[in-house]
């Protein structure tokens, strides 16, 4: 029955094996299961479908994707180069396990080392782990990390941090009796307010955290000052970053961050409803930090006779399989294949390609803002420079705008109050995003459609 997936399910083969085992049927291999809980019949999930039936079902369930996507909120519609998909579809990469046997798994190990190295350059950091689950849980780990390193319990974050990630941070810190304090932003610029931030940072502060861009798409212009403030009180200066922005502005490492987290899904992976994703976690090469790093780490080394280069997992004594409850994290399976995708993507675009792409997104964002200012019903509430994401206020209900857009195959902004009323601040905000997939004509089309609603 399942012999197309399990060759030994073939009746003849099965008989031979069972005879060898001296049992009459596979049921006899379950004699150790107490009979009162052993099922006589399999639980009913329906009959198995053949390939064609299943493909037809999938096609019938899924609608065609929209033609243009301008939705923001942490995921945007980026272009995935075909080579990234092709390499990631090689079974040697996608079917393998965590590289426990380095000699047989040099390919994955080297690719992960390259990911660590490329990401370190991009972020201006030195050590990047071999991936965490996603941006949010990377932030959760960052909070725990900073508490371990500093032995302090106060976490100061900008109020403009993405609310999905704030929620994850809270969950991760809940058992640690941490105090999470939000530093308000300046309503004019959309940037964090240094005057409000200063009194919040003190000798009990473990970490100060801001995002680039923040939830409203704004680039924190005072990042350097924020990190300096953190350092002046001995706290860890931490940044969350869109790695594409790091190709355009001074990377967090150069701005003074000790710790960087971010989402790598933007680097060559599809949106896929928000997952799988790639949690980026980067630190300076400071052994105080390295020893507390969560997640796997690949190191370059040599073969034992010293003749060739080789790669393997390093500093495993931090990890759960050795350190158990004292481990720096419980992470086991993480996001290796996504890290490989990011490595391919970065290598393929190269410094100039990444820079051009980031510039294009920056120009697009500015152009979208400029065109929106021509419309009566819409405005951009924050003055700060924005990248990729743009917060837009409206005097007409967003639902109406979005359904008009959708009727033309265009996916509009993310209506913030849908899931995060507290982040809307009564401003009726929708988050738009624009990527390299858009040009002038796509943005013009969006503006024209929005003009039609008023």
């Amino acid at each position: 029955m399942v012999s197309y997936l399990s060759p030994n399910a073939d009746e003849g083969v099965k008989r031979r094996i069972l005879d060898y085992l001296g049992v009459g049927s596979v049921e006899e291999l379950y004699v150790d299961v107490p009979s009162e809980i052993l099922l006589k019949e399999p639980p009913d999930i329906g009959r198995g479908m053949n390939h064609i039936e299943l493909e037809r079902l999938v096609d019938s369930l899924l609608p065609k994707p929209p033609r243009l996507i301008f939705t923001g909120g942490g995921v945007a519609d980026h272009y995935v180069p075909p080579l990234v998909d092709e390499i990631a579809s090689r079974q040697e990469f996608y079917t393998s396990y965590t590289p426990y046997q380095p000699e047989l798994s040099q390919g994955m190990l080297q690719a992960l080392f390259e990911y660590q190295s490329l990401m370190a350059e991009l972020l201006g950091m030195e050590v990047v782990n071999a991936s965490l689950y996603d941006y949010g849980s990377a932030l959760g780990e960052a909070g725990r990390f900073s508490m371990r390193v500093t032995r302090r319990r106060k976490i100061v974050i900008a109020s403009s941090v993405n609310p999905e990630r704030k929620a994850v941070l809270r969950t991760y810190l809940d058992p640690l009796n941490a105090e999470i304090v939000e530093a308000p932003m300046d309503r004019e610029s959309g940037c964090i307010s240094l005057d409000h931030l200063r009194p919040l940072i003190d000798d009990s502060t473990a970490m100060v955290y801001i995002e680039m861009p923040n939830f409203y798409g704004i680039i924190e212009e005072g990042a350097e000052d924020v990190f300096e403030l953190a350092h002046s009180k001995g706290a860890i200066a931490a940044a969350g970053v869109d790695p594409l922005l790091a190709a355009l502005i001074k990377p967090p490492g150069e701005l003074g961050a000790d710790l960087v987290v971010g989402e790598g899904q933007h680097l060559g992976s599809p949106m896929s409803f928000g997952g799988p994703s790639l949690g980026i976690f980067a630190i300076r090469m400071d052994m105080r930090f390295v020893r507390q790093l969560p997640g796997r780490l690949i190191g370059m080394t040599k073969t034992q006779e010293g003749l060739y280069r080789g790669y393997c997992m390093v500093l495993q004594t931090r990890e759960q399989h050795i350190r158990k409850e004292e481990a720096t994290s419980n992470i086991t399976t993480s996001s290796s294949l996504m890290a490989v995708r990011a490595a391919i993507y970065i290598t393929l675009l190269g410094p100039e390609g990444l820079r051009k792409l980031a510039e294009k997104i920056a120009y697009n964002t500015a152009y979208l803002r400029k065109r929106l200012s021509e419309l009566d019903s819409f405005s951009v509430p924050f003055k700060g420079a924005a990248f990729k994401e743009l917060a837009v206020s409206s005097s007409v209900p967003w639902e109406r705008v979005n359904s008009h857009l959708l009727s033309r195959g265009v996916l509009g902004g993310f209506i913030v109050s849908r899931f995060f009323p507290e982040m809307d601040m009564g401003m009726n905000i929708s988050l738009f995003s624009t990527t390299e997939k858009h040009g002038k004509s796509e943005i013009d089309e969006l503006i024209n459609l929005m003009r039609e609603v008023s």
Partner: protein, 513 residues
């Protein structure tokens, strides 16, 4: 058996060089997009778009042409071993074959291109798949409520532990201890600790199952719960699981189930019937989603009704024929990751279960168990020592000990594993669980044919024989992989953790030798 892995190296001792060494610092290999002239004219120069002081001056990345990148990463792929390369009996990891159809489903443009905040009408099909997956998992495990949010098994453990913690808090109970068998996976201990519990370990009894006396001693009014794996990591079914559940429940504690080994019993026993209160399932083990060289995976968590109100938000709800994401979970522990989970992994499990159907689920488990018993008996006949569970059938995996071999020949489990590599087989899990000396944990899964089972057994017999006759041959393996043994003590000393760190330290390299 002959095997030779592709090996790309250069005379000067380099393996396939990194892009930093091949790389022209330059343009890169793909024309994605340049900013349009007209658009630049409309908004002004870059300085008017991005604060001038912030603009980056230097980006020291390599950039290769598309053919160069293609060759480089294809060569790396050739220096890696996957399930489609050959037998991959990595115990506890369930390296089963991934049907290509499930890969195609996840690759569907309508799933790939779905934005997480797309209106619900566009997400109906996907939400239906995810909801159906939850329902199928409920039917298989008997646990009525599911979240698909956790990104892997370990994150599922964290979710389960946090739910127990919060529930106890609501009951006004101060219970801060989690009981965990010594044979459990390392992540169990780490997850319990992350959730704020103190870990109490219990040793196995002489037959490899949980020692009931030790368990009774370990629990107290401080016990929040116990985490069990069943079949356990020795491949033995904990046949006193009902008694264990009873003891815990009578004590006011919860039973957590680590689903890493569900592949042995899916369709045969339901977790609810074992008295389980909360469990994670490793979608990337039992339900055929591939492991991706270490992720992405997914770790669905199922619970009884008592714990339902603690699930992470959002949950997928069905109202009439419509599906919706709901944040209305009164006592939710919150979120453990952004958005809804590793959806691209989860739909593979949906497709897999649709392919298998009820009978297929039960039969797959049985074949996995049958294969493991076949290999175990064959290996015992060859003289391999199975320290636990000899008198009963094993489940989907079992553990052998090479302690005797080591004593008599100096060949350790590690060396034995490297000899398997030379013969084209991925070695079993080594040195886990730690209660067994020089152990190999063997899980053939349902995917291997009888021919492959026999080949693996024969290879192990031959390695054992060679170890007695010419141990140095085994100690000097592998020779046929991309590299010979990798020096991990050097790696941990020099800590070349990135190309940048290496460049900085290169000049001092000789000092380390």
């Amino acid at each position: 058996m002959g095997f030779s892995q592709a090996r790309w190296f250069f005379e000067d001792g380099l393996l396939e060089p990194t892009p930093f060494e091949i790389g022209r610092i330059g343009e890169g290999g793909v024309r994605v997009a340049e900013p349009e002239e007209e658009l630049i004219e409309a908004v002004g120069s870059l300085e008017e778009v991005i604060p001038k002081e912030l603009i980056r001056k230097e980006l020291k990345l390599p950039g290769l042409s598309e053919p160069e990148v293609a060759r480089h990463f294809n060569r790396l792929a050739q220096m890696n071993y996957g399930v489609d390369s050959g037998s991959y009996w990595l115990g506890s990891c369930t390296m089963k074959y991934t049907p290509k159809l499930v890969m195609r489903v996840a690759d569907h443009p309508s799933i790939r291109n779905l934005h997480p905040y797309a209106p619900e009408e566009l997400a109906q099909g996907l939400l239906r798949m995810l909801h159906e997956l939850q329902e199928m998992l409920s039917v298989i495990t008997g646990l009525p409520n599911y979240t698909l949010q956790p990104a892997a098994g370990a994150q599922g453990e964290l979710v389960g532990a946090l739910m127990i913690r919060k529930r106890l808090g609501d009951l006004g109970e101060r219970r801060d201890e989690m009981v965990i068998p010594e044979t459990a996976h390392g992540s169990n201990f780490a997850s319990a600790a992350m959730a704020g519990f103190k870990v109490i370990r219990v040793p196995p009894s002489s037959d490899g199952t949980i020692d009931m006396n030790a368990l009774k001693e370990a629990i107290s009014e401080r016990t929040a719960g116990m985490m069990i794996t069943n079949p356990n990591t020795l491949g033995i079914f904990e046949d006193r699981v009902l008694e264990i559940a009873e003891i815990l429940h009578a004590n006011g504690s919860y039973l957590y189930y680590d689903g890493a080994n569900l592949n042995a019993i899916m369709g045969w026993v339901r977790l609810s019937d074992m008295g389980v209160d909360v469990a994670h399932l490793n979608i990337h083990k039992t339900f055929s989603a591939p492991h991706g060289g270490g992720g992405p995976g997914a770790g669905a968590v199922g619970t009884t009704d008592e714990l339902r109100d603690y699930l992470p938000v959002p949950v997928i709800v069905k109202e009439g024929n419509k599906y919706r994401l709901s944040y209305d979970v009164p006592r939710s522990i919150g979120k453990v990751r952004t958005f809804y989970g590793n959806v691209g992994v989860l739909v593979k499990a949906w497709a897999y279960l649709k392919m298998l159907g009820s009978d297929g689920v039960r039969e797959s488990a049985a074949i996995a168990v049958m294969n493991a018993n076949y290999v175990r008996k064959k290996l015992m006949e060859c003289g391999f020592d199975v320290p636990y569970g000899r008198g009963r059938p094993c489940k989907h995996e079992f553990v052998i000990s090479l302690a005797k071999l080591r004593k008599e020949t100096g060949v350790r489990a590690l060396d034995f594993a490297k000899a398997l590599i030379d013969r084209g087989l991925h070695p079993p899990t080594m040195y886990f669980p730690q209660v067994v000396q020089e152990c190999l944990m063997i899980e053939p899964t349902e995917s291997d044919s009888l021919r492959e089972l026999d080949k693996y057994v024969e290879t192990m017999r031959e390695i054992m024989k060679t170890a007695y006759e010419r141990p140095e041959e085994i100690l000097n393996s592998p020779k046929n992989a991309a590299v010979t043994r990798v020096d991990d003590s050097l790696a941990n000393k020099v800590l070349w953790l990135s190309w940048k760190v290496y460049e900085k330290q290169k000049s001092q390299e000789e000092l380390y030798r």
